[in-house]
């Protein structure tokens, strides 16, 4: 295959790119990162604006890709924990210090006794009123200090974009039927869903560019069409093509009425935010597979989405033996663990199934019927 070159590619910038070549040829991520500044030390003719732009742009692009999110959260947690522990230490020191008590002469006390009695009575009333006001204000503040559901959703979405490998337990319930699987997700780029069926193990995946399905037997099927995987998932697992947490969180940002509260997660027993999203006009939704109700349990301390529960109750004349419509179902995506050590090719079907044939073709949604059934 011939190599590409840039000779005829459009260049629409006013700056002289050759002057910046040296800057960008440095490896910003190398451990010896001081090179950039050292380099500048010997070159006073370099435009500092260019250097500032380049350094900031690199950092902004990292942030945009979600690469800085975890280190920001970690740094924040560490700093705030240090502040809290320091406060406790100071409080303990204060408690251990002897308090100085004023000694009031007995005669003086007698003179002022009646006056103080009245004063305390009035003060007590004032304090009771003040306490009530403080209680109301505190309650108001407590509620208003809760982040909005939209903010929580945006933060959860941002968290989900980090290029880390996160493992979730997936459970689909539809009527009497229940199916479990393990989902591995890297940001919104790649996923791997392994489902155990009666016939054996079946794997769906996305490697960033293509979707693929490895049925129990036969060749691995690959396509660059997202509609294809949606059709396959619907065909084989009762629909709900909302597997990637990032996709779920993104889609909730419109057409859903959001509410939030702070609660202890009954499953993890941890302080959590519960965000509930209700599809506002299900009958008008173009996507009939869209979940009608979604609940997110977000861990307050880590900001991690611990659990997503998607429910769909679509009106349909098609019912199975249990009476549930064919589009009813509840999908639970429960966080298991996080790792960033998986190989870059972990999500590629070629790596996972090196001994199996791979059929690659541009599928369309109409081609779904041609895919072998999973039994």
């Amino acid at each position: 295959m011939s190599q590409n070159n840039d000779r005829n590619e459009p260049v629409e910038h006013s700056a002289d790119d050759s002057s910046a070549d040296w800057l960008f040829n440095l490896n910003f991520d190398a451990p010896d990162e001081g090179k950039v500044l050292e380099y500048l030390q010997g070159d006073e003719t370099t435009d500092p604006n260019l250097v500032a732009d380049a350094l900031l742009l690199h950092s902004l692009l990292l942030q945009n890709a979600g690469s800085l999110h975890d280190s920001t959260e970690r740094g924040l947690q560490r700093a705030l924990s240090a502040l809290h522990s320091n406060d406790q230490k100071l409080q303990l020191e204060e408690e251990l210090q002897p308090t100085s008590q004023s000694i009031v002469p007995a005669t003086e006390a007698r003179v002022h006794r009646e006056f103080r009695s009245r004063w305390w009575h009035q003060r007590g009333l004032r304090m009771a009123v003040a306490a009530s006001v403080i209680f109301v204000l505190f309650t108001f503040f407590w509620q208003s200090r809760l982040p909005s559901a939209k903010t929580l959703l945006a933060q959860a979405y941002e968290y989900s974009l980090a290029l880390l490998d996160r493992e979730y337990q997936v459970t689909l319930r539809r009527g009497d039927m229940s199916m479990e699987g393990t989902l591995l997700v890297r940001g919104n780029e790649a996923f791997l869903l392994t489902v155990n069926t009666i016939a054996g193990q079946q794997t769906f995946g996305r490697n960033g560019r293509e979707y693929w399905l490895a049925p129990t037997i036969g060749p691995v099927l690959k396509s660059d069409s997202r509609y294809w995987i949606a059709s396959i998932l619907h065909q084989h697992s009762g629909g709900l093509p909302y597997l990637e947490p990032a996709t779920v969180l993104q889609r909730l940002q419109s057409d859903y009425k959001l509410a939030r509260e702070r609660r202890v997660d009954p499953k993890t027993n941890r302080d959590s935010y519960l965000v509930t999203a209700l599809l506002e006009k299900p009958e008008q939704s173009a996507d009939f597979l869209r979940p009608h109700r979604v609940q997110l349990w977000i861990d307050v301390e880590s900001g991690r989405t611990q659990r997503i529960v998607l429910e769909r109750h679509a009106p349909s004349p098609l019912r199975d033996s249990s009476g549930a419509t064919l589009f009813d179902g509840t999908l639970t995506i429960e966080f298991n663990r996080e790792t960033s050590t998986l190989a870059p090719d972990y999500y590629r079907c070629e790596s996972r199934f090196p001994d199996r044939a791979i059929l690659s073709r541009p599928w369309s949604a109409n081609d779904a019927s041609a895919v072998p059934s999973a039994q």
Binding site: Q3, N5, E9, A20, L37, P48, D53, H58, G187
Partner: protein
């Protein structure tokens, strides 16, 4: 509300912008995280010096800039004469970004995303592979079937186009020339 609670709200609001600023100065992620944490602790210790009539973000970045320079000194690297100038320039750009529309820092990055969407296809792909996929130029050559020189050139040109585009959006080109 206790001072510490106010502080916590403020730092949470400015945490992302602060980390972006520090990572602009220190590319090593572990060191940047340390400086980030040290910045917050130093800020807390010096809260009484903070002028509440002024914005909190630039104050935090002022502390972070000094700590970053200190970090370089500790490693035996004398900061360059113009490094403080560069820190100030980055700071002024971040102030301009903070003034963009959006509630969160990431929402303010819509300007960057819009600039990225206008890049020519091969440049967009290079940036995507470099940052979203975290591939180094050598690895990008395997995905794109382009030479290393071509990949570097695409990244360079893409960054230059992005810089020009963002500067136009922030309107800082005029103020810094």
């Amino acid at each position: 509300m206790e001072a510490k609670e106010v502080f916590e709200i403020l730092v949470r609001e400015h945490a992302t912008g602060l980390m972006v600023f520090i990572r602009s100065l220190i590319a090593d992620s572990a060191a940047a995280e340390d400086v980030f944490q040290e910045t917050l602790l130093t800020a807390w210790k010096n809260m009484e010096r903070f002028d509440r009539g002024r914005p909190f973000g630039p104050w935090l970045r002022g502390i972070a800039g000094k700590l970053a320079l200190g970090w370089y000194r500790q490693r035996g690297r004398q900061p360059i004469s113009q490094s403080e100038t560069i820190i100030e320039l980055i700071d002024s750009r971040l102030t301009a970004i903070q003034n963009l529309q959006g509630d969160t820092f990431n929402e303010k990055l819509d300007a960057l995303r819009e600039c990225m969407s206008h890049l020519p296809g091969p440049y967009q792909q290079a940036i995507h592979l470099r940052y979203e996929q975290q591939l180094m130029p050598a690895a990008i050559t395997e995905v794109t079937n382009a030479t290393l020189e071509t990949v570097k050139k695409r990244l360079n040109r893409a960054r230059l186009l992005l810089m020009a585009c963002i500067n136009r959006k922030l309107n800082i080109a005029e103020s810094t020339t």
